[in-house]
């Protein structure tokens, strides 16, 4: 074979003399051998979502039977307002707003992790049947299969076992995560049927008591569960961030990711377990509002761009969306109140349809 054949000129072109030190669109912080890349657009998105969350929270804290303007809300939070205002804001409303924000953040991060692992933007707590399972377990607890255990603990157990079951039954991953989704839907239908049996057979007052668990609301949050969610978020959020960064490479086709040295099975199991924990904790506080787990990552991705897995942004977006849904449910038909789960389904359902119908074939990959 002749070695003297001329090479195409484009292949011989040499790199410029002084290449840039970091990829375009990133900031690079470095110190000795250590270096960190910060994506500019992702950082700006985080900032914007944090501001949005703060604004919604202030608005939500001011809204209710007594209206308080945002300025005084902030004053009350800082302890600089009159006593009645401080009481209303801190004692009556802060818990509810915090519950919405925390549950929404957990659902948003869980949705982001699940979508990335399943490689499908429609893989969410709702579509995977996790909501249904948590509801079934909580209802079982309320209507008296065992009243001694808190429904929230049951909801958490239900969510976790469902997620494990879906993954075990759906077998080896397919490229678009469809098997996964349909298995979840099927199992979710079983849980839905079980919930219906229990509600139909329960005495009417037990059925009414179980009702909040079937729609998703911030009315019946329990203090200890909320505290558990709050502390767990403190621990799990950094974990989710690390996993999200590792999952970035796992978005490539599986053989490519593995040949890049990603331990994909371990990563997947870790992400799923974490997502299950986050979903379960959130559902235990707020009930089945898993659609937040679909909408929040979508919003986050839209703002933060395609370069990374926006776990934190999805969490912030989830917090804002949940607080907004709750705010809308409380104010739109005041004095009566729409549960946050119904508001989310009424807004989120059309959104799913829209995503499904306008996304081109094969491009639902997260």
């Amino acid at each position: 074979m002749s070695d003297t054949r001329a090479q195409p000129s484009v292949l011989r072109a040499r790199p410029p003399a002084s290449p840039p030190r970091q990829p375009r669109g990133y900031w690079r912080l470095h110190w000795r051998g250590l270096s960190v890349l910060i994506e500019r657009r992702g950082m700006l998105a985080l900032l914007a979502l944090a501001l949005l969350g703060a604004a919604v929270a202030a608005l939500s804290l001011g809204q209710g039977s007594v209206r308080i303007p945002p300025g005084r809300v902030i004053a009350a939070l800082l302890g600089a307002a009159d006593a009645p205002t401080t009481l209303v804001v801190r004692q009556l409303r802060l818990g509810r707003v915090f519950a919405g924000a925390a549950a929404g953040a957990a659902l948003g991060m869980a949705g982001c992790l699940l979508q990335t692992v399943a490689r499908n933007r429609l893989a969410t707590p709702t579509t995977l049947g996790i909501d249904n399972a948590a509801t079934a377990f909580a209802v079982a607890s309320v209507v008296g299969v065992s009243t001694s255990l808190a429904p929230a603990a049951f909801a958490l157990t239900g969510a976790l076992s469902m997620l494990a079951l879906v993954f075990a039954l759906s077998g080896p991953g397919d490229t678009r995560g469809y098997r996964f989704l349909l298995t979840g839907m099927g199992l979710g239908a079983i849980c839905g049927a079980a919930t219906n049996i229990m509600l139909a057979r329960a005495p009417i007052d037990a059925a009414n008591q179980a009702y909040p668990w079937t729609v998703g609301t911030l009315n019946n949050r329990a203090g200890p569960t909320l505290a558990l969610l709050g502390w767990s978020l403190l621990v799990l959020t950094p974990l989710a961030l690390v996993l999200g960064a590792a999952l970035n490479v796992a978005r490539l086709p599986e053989p490519v990711a593995r040949s890049l040295g990603v331990r994909i099975t371990q990563l997947r199991v870790g992400a799923i377990a974490l997502a299950g924990l986050l979903t379960g904790l959130a559902v235990a506080v707020i009930g089945p509002v898993g659609i937040i787990g679909l909408a929040a990552p979508e919003l986050a991705r839209r703002l933060a761009g395609p370069r990374s897995v926006p776990v934190l942004a999805a969490g912030l977006a989830g917090a804002s969306l949940t607080m907004l849904a709750d705010l809308a449910g409380r104010t739109l038909c005041a004095p009566s109140e729409l549960p946050v789960g119904i508001v989310a389904a009424l807004v989120g359902g059309p959104y799913v349809l829209w995503v499904l119908l306008r996304t081109p074939q094969g491009a639902l990959n997260a």
């Binding site: 989704l181 298995t183 839905g192 219906n196 799913v352």
Partner: protein, 335 residues
């Protein structure tokens, strides 16, 4: 060409026998078994005019109407499911999964809330039509009709919107809530024949339509281009399928509430027994549908006897594992 009349579109004699035996057995079970203290033998003699007065009462006014309703519901849902699957060319296209039943149920809830409960057959059919048209139409408009899972997810989204709308109405209207509490789960307990009579013409019309449209539908199964080449009008076929499905599913929903998974499991079994040609699968599905609903309803009576389990719950408990199995077996998403 495949559109030539197949060697025989009549099912084989063994298959006919199987369906007939199954139907007989399930009818016998439905009449003979139940919560009351009337045993199978007593029930049969009561049917012939013998037995004591109580047995006659139970059998003639409770179990017989119920059996007839179950047969009607089974016919309607199996027929609707088979047609929908053939038209969408998607084994997962089921009235329940695609949100057709939910459309129908929501329409009925709205009608009852507005005090139009007496129109509920028409309203149910209208709602089914709307649900069907929405999900199939939207999928076609955006050219995503061939992606089976997307269609199902779109249906699930539609169903969740509709369920939330129903829930909103029920939240503000306690009277309607009480009236539909059991109906929305799906069940045929305690319905009289007089109540379901209005649904009869709809089922009949839907079945006749299905028989007529089966042949062009088989052509459509070869693909849009081929069907057009064979002188068919795909849009017209689809529109008539949507009409039939709406009639059948609407009527079934009006009779029994939203009963899911019948339209998935039965056509699946029919295709497995009779092959993929809709002209062969449709009669088999129609023969198996009543048996399936009858057996599910008998189970619903017995599982938690003396209490009733809603029919929709039983069909979901049977059908959902079937869905999971199908998903596991088939090579998705080409299905």
């Amino acid at each position: 060409m495949a559109l030539e009349r197949p060697q025989s579109i009549k099912p084989s004699s063994q298959l006919t026998l199987l369906c007939a035996v199954l139907l007989l057995l399930s009818v016998a079970a439905s009449i003979g078994l139940g919560a009351g203290a009337v045993g199978p033998l007593e029930a049969w003699s009561a049917l012939g005019g013998g037995g004591d007065a109580q047995a006659r009462l139970v059998v003639l006014t409770l179990r017989l109407p119920r059996t007839l309703i179950a047969v009607l519901v089974g016919l309607a849902l199996a027929g609707g499911g088979a047609m929908l699957q053939a038209a969408a060319r998607n084994p997962l296209a089921e009235p329940g999964l695609l949100g057709v039943s939910a459309g129908s149920a929501t329409a009925v809830v709205i009608a009852i809330a507005l005090g139009l409960g007496h129109l509920h057959i028409i309203v149910a059919i209208g709602g089914a039509l709307l649900g069907c048209a929405l999900v199939l139409g939207a999928a076609r408009l955006s050219g995503r009709g061939d992606d089976p899972v997307r269609l199902v997810l779109a249906g699930a989204a539609l169903a969740s919107i509709l369920a939330a709308s129903s829930a909103t109405i029920l939240l503000f209207d306690q009277r309607t809530a009480d009236e539909v509490r059991f109906w929305t789960i799906g069940g045929i307990a305690g319905r009289s024949l007089a109540q379901v009579m209005p649904a009869l013409p709809a089922v009949g019309l839907g079945l006749i339509g299905a028989a007529v449209v089966a042949r062009p539908l088989a052509a459509l199964a070869l693909g849009e281009q081929v069907a057009r080449g064979l002188g068919q009008h795909p849009q017209l076929i689809r529109a008539s399928v949507v009409g039939c499905v709406a009639l059948l599913v609407g009527a079934a929903t009006a009779m029994a509430g939203p009963v899911g998974f019948v339209g998935l499991v039965v056509p699946l079994a029919a295709r497995w027994l009779a092959g993929p040609d809709i002209r062969r699968a449709l009669p088999v599905a129609l023969a198996l549908g009543p048996s399936f609903v009858l057996l599910a309803d008998t189970l619903a009576r017995l599982v938690a006897s003396p209490a009733e389990t809603p029919l929709g719950v039983v069909t979901a408990l049977i059908g959902a594992p079937v869905l999971v199995l199908v998903v596991r077996r088939q090579r998705l998403p080409s299905l």
